[in-house]
């Protein structure tokens, strides 16, 4: 790994200000890393020419003393974000050839501050998956491997390409989206920091919709400070997204001192699963001890509806997906299967364009919204959602943050958990509840499994309290002293 690709986002940005190297040199080093890491399949579209152009422009601005917050920083952008004139397909066959004529608000914010796009990151089709095995463009391989075993592992999902790109040093940071854990779980599987902001903190405009009441943009980075910097630029009110909240964006880096003296840390009893691996349990206990030893107050809390979060999610998210994905009709964009009959043209285009998991979720969503079943399923799920959110708001009367594991296991091998959809869904058992309640959550790499794979701990916060959440995460980062780097395929990441 080159010295330039080993930097954090924050340190690379500071080095550019001191002109220790040029933005072009930084981008070239990442292009070289990306070319070497192609076997990981992290990027589905490489935009290296554009990256070089933007890096040169960044150098000009830096020389003129005009550099933005992310000037010259090479980033990977999840394929769910619409980027003007560039491949944006949600890694689905149905969006074949789609090139947006507009730019998503979040990516526009990044470019405004000088960031450089390396390419579009692989992902589960329409963000539906937890292992990046549903992409039309093929699986992503996790740059991490088990000790003494070169079996390819999944990077997690759905933001699997984003996570692999940052872990393999193809980019200094990446954008992801999180509907039920799609930033936090891949971050845990790849040894990264993954932040899902409060619902409404970042604009969803120009991000291809999956489940609109849950989808939220956020960063994957190699440090908490980097996550704070990315959020600083990504967040903000946007009149084009009616669910974007008009509340000021604080300076997320101002109080990242890692001081947790007096912080009230909640530990929810219901997250202790019967069949949870001992090493996850042990990691969680260690995390609790870190906070306790630093003067935080550990408070046992109860979130009684936790076990219903996942089944509730699998009504709400498919229902919204069936509505959102109704727009793919073979008429206005993407794949079209010719037929003389209009309805058959729709049916054939959608059958060919959507993969099996997406079709399954559209069908479930259509079923739970159909006449006679709406009250029994969809309305019931919306009521459960109220109860899940209420659990959290009651807990937050007593605590400032909640500490849990991020995922019930380390990264697993490609091919495992693939036969049973519910086994795959259980990956998100710890991340979905906060999504249902719209709360911010962050995964921080906290240790290694017995097989040498990264494990994450998750912190959840109150709505729009990302500053405090990030500071609590900064403390964990210091306490965990996680310095391991991936040993795996392709990336030259020894």
């Amino acid at each position: 790994m080159s010295a330039l690709t080993a930097l954090t986002l924050t340190s690379a940005r500071a080095a550019l200000d001191k002109r220790e190297f040029s933005a072009r040199e930084l981008t070239d080093a990442h292009i070289e890393a990306a070319e070497a890491a192609r076997p990981l399949n992290a990027l589905v579209a490489e935009t290296f020419d554009l990256a070089r152009e933007r890096a040169d422009a960044a150098d000009k601005r830096l020389t003129a003393g005009e550099g933005g917050l992310l000037e010259g920083m090479p980033l990977a952008i999840k394929d769910l974000y619409c980027t003007k004139g560039v491949h944006s397909a949600a890694c689905s066959h149905i969006l074949d050839g789609f090139k947006p004529t507009y730019e998503s608000t979040v990516t526009a914010n990044l470019w405004r501050e000088g960031a450089v796009m390396m390419g579009k990151a692989n992902m589960d089709e329409f963000a539906m998956g937890s292992a990046n095995v549903t992409s039309y463009y093929g699986n992503v391989i996790n740059p991490w491997q088990r000790q003494g075993d070169n079996k390819p592992l999944v990077p997690g999902g759905s933001s699997g390409g984003s996570a692999a790109a940052v872990a393999a040093r193809i980019a200094l940071a990446a954008t992801g989206t999180d509907t039920g854990g799609s930033i936090r779980q891949p971050a845990a599987f790849c040894g990264l920091v993954g932040l899902k902001p409060t619902y409404g903190r970042c604009s969803r405009w120009g991000i291809i919709a999956f489940a609109s009441s849950l989808d939220q943009a956020g960063p994957l980075t190699r440090s908490v400070e980097d996550a704070a910097l990315m959020l600083q630029v990504m967040a903000g009110h946007d009149a084009k997204d009616s669910t974007s909240v008009n509340t000021p964006v604080p300076d997320y880096r101002a109080e990242l001192n890692g001081d947790v003296q007096g912080l009230r840390v909640g530990v929810p009893a219901e997250y202790r699963l019967d069949d949870m691996p001992e090493e996850i349990e042990a990691l969680w206990r260690r995390g609790i001890d870190w906070y306790k030893d630093a003067g935080a107050e550990i408070i046992d809390i109860s979130l009684p509806h936790t076990k219903y979060s996942l089944p509730t999610y699998y009504i709400v998210a498919p229902a919204e997906c069936s509505s959102n994905l109704a727009r793919y009709d073979g008429v206005r964009y993407g794949l079209r299967e010719a037929d003389d009959d209009l309805t058959h043209m729709y049916e054939r285009s959608r059958a060919k364009g959507f993969g099996p998991e997406v079709q399954r979720r559209i069908m479930i969503g259509t079923y739970v919204l159909s006449a006679g079943y709406y009250d029994a399923y969809y309305l019931k799920a919306q009521k459960l959602r109220t109860l899940i959110a209420r659990d959290f708001s009651q807990a937050f009367e007593k605590v400032d943050v909640v500490l849990t594991p991020t995922a019930p296991s380390a990264a697993f091998a490609i091919g495992e958990k693939m036969d049973d959809p519910i086994a795959m869904y259980l990956n998100d058992v710890f991340t979905v509840p906060a999504s249902m309640a719209g709360l911010p959550g962050i995964s921080v790499p906290a240790g290694l499994s017995s097989e040498g794979l990264p494990l994450g701990l998750q912190l959840l916060g109150q709505p729009f309290d990302e500053a405090r959440l990030l500071n609590a995460a900064r403390f964990m980062e210091i306490a965990a002293e996680f310095t391991a780097t991936p040993s795996g395929l392709g990336g030259g990441t020894s």
Binding site: S213, N246, P311, R350, Q359, M363
Partner: protein, 95 residues
């Protein structure tokens, strides 16, 4: 309740997804596994609970009634699989 073959075909029709006859049994099985699993929600008493319609406590904002630049026709059509003279082309729907 079990999703049978006829229900699968009905849902597929509503969802506008072509399903081959030989795939219906497998699909019915998969969907039933998921629906049986979510059935556990019925054990929760939700009488009198307000359904959540928005996770953030905001009222939908109204925009001011102003004229904006419209998206240009050629931009809208630029990604369409089939266009003709500034129109989307679809199979004939009227006799």
């Amino acid at each position: 309740m079990a999703i049978d073959k006829a229900t699968v075909l009905h849902i597929a029709k509503l969802a506008r997804i072509e399903v081959a006859d030989e795939a219906t049994d497998g699909l019915a099985k998969e969907l039933n596994v998921i629906m049986d699993w979510v059935e556990q929600l019925s054990e929760v008493d939700t009488d009198g609970v307000e359904p959540m319609t928005s996770v953030v406590d905001i009222t939908l904002p109204l925009r001011t009634d102003e004229v904006h630049a419209a998206v240009q026709r050629d931009e809208l059509l630029s990604n369409a699989p089939n266009t003709d003279n500034g129109f989307f082309v679809v199979p004939k729907v009227v006799e």
